[in-house]
Symmetry: C2
Subunit: 199 residues, 2 copies
Amino acid sequence: MHAASIEKLIESFEQLPGVGHKSAERIAFYILEQMSSERAAEMASSITEAKEKIKFCSQCQNLTDTDPCKICSSPKRDKSVICVVESPEDVNAIEATNEYSGVYHVLHGALSPMDGITPDDIKINELLLRLADGSVKEVIMATNPTVSGTATAVYISKLLAPFDVRVTRIAHGIPVGSDIEYADKVTLIKALEGRQAMN
Amino acid sequence: MHAASIEKLIESFEQLPGVGHKSAERIAFYILEQMSSERAAEMASSITEAKEKIKFCSQCQNLTDTDPCKICSSPKRDKSVICVVESPEDVNAIEATNEYSGVYHVLHGALSPMDGITPDDIKINELLLRLADGSVKEVIMATNPTVSGTATAVYISKLLAPFDVRVTRIAHGIPVGSDIEYADKVTLIKALEGRQAMN
């Protein structure tokens, strides 16, 4: 019943993650009724511009507008430690701590045979190539503590066994500030297993 | 921490209704990581194209790519009955019933002094102009049964008092298929007040 170009606009937004038909409709009408033509044009150009400029960093595979990315090209970062994460958002979360000075490797996904995501679908080969020259001393597996994240960490750690490199996994445990009473069993078991001396 | 064009993309989506910062980030990364360049370009052009082509119908003020819109220009529609609604989505909802053969008037909002929405901000003048030639026999107020929707219906019905036109309000009551036990008080009162003979 909508005009054809409204339908097309709704369909565009409907394909985005977390946007259902009703939300897409609301967004489309917001753009048509309330947004100025200038802002709508800006929005359209921000999509094409980002899509043109943003590429994968040839080293860490993170999204970037320079190659290598700012982190990989920074002389302050320790290139001998690589933190392996699933997504660019994870890089941001770790960068926000200001505590990590190594570099990253973004897999862009995690292994999930059920969803048809095999080792060839994520950037594992690119990680192996970075280990070729022997300068990397440690690979920190910071994939999510989910089934697929853990499977990915285990898979990669086995692949790295022949290399002379230390492979570590980020610690799982009770989140700081939360209550043991409300922790789930698996987290509690991990927290007990990972207990450390209090010196 | 994101590259500038990623930030711009996130900001674009953040301004949309129902899209917070996290969702905007997820959408932006979806566009950059998973969408093909062709589909991203299509999305961008669907925004600019819709914004260019879609205008307000000069008669009913609904969004349309032809003027007058399909409904206003249809010889099958009864121009003597105008159904007044708040938004284009409401027109769709009523059209989907296939039971209404009159025309519409889209106000694009409802009176809400608290939010600074006055009679000049919605398409009330345009409605009055449509009554000038005396061909309209009935105006059905189908604004939402909310405070602002009801206020708008009452306000317009007073404005229309001097005209020789019947002004009606859509019925409020218990939704079909639902349970009286769970109906809220106001709806129940409206349902009792609106009771009809069972003939």
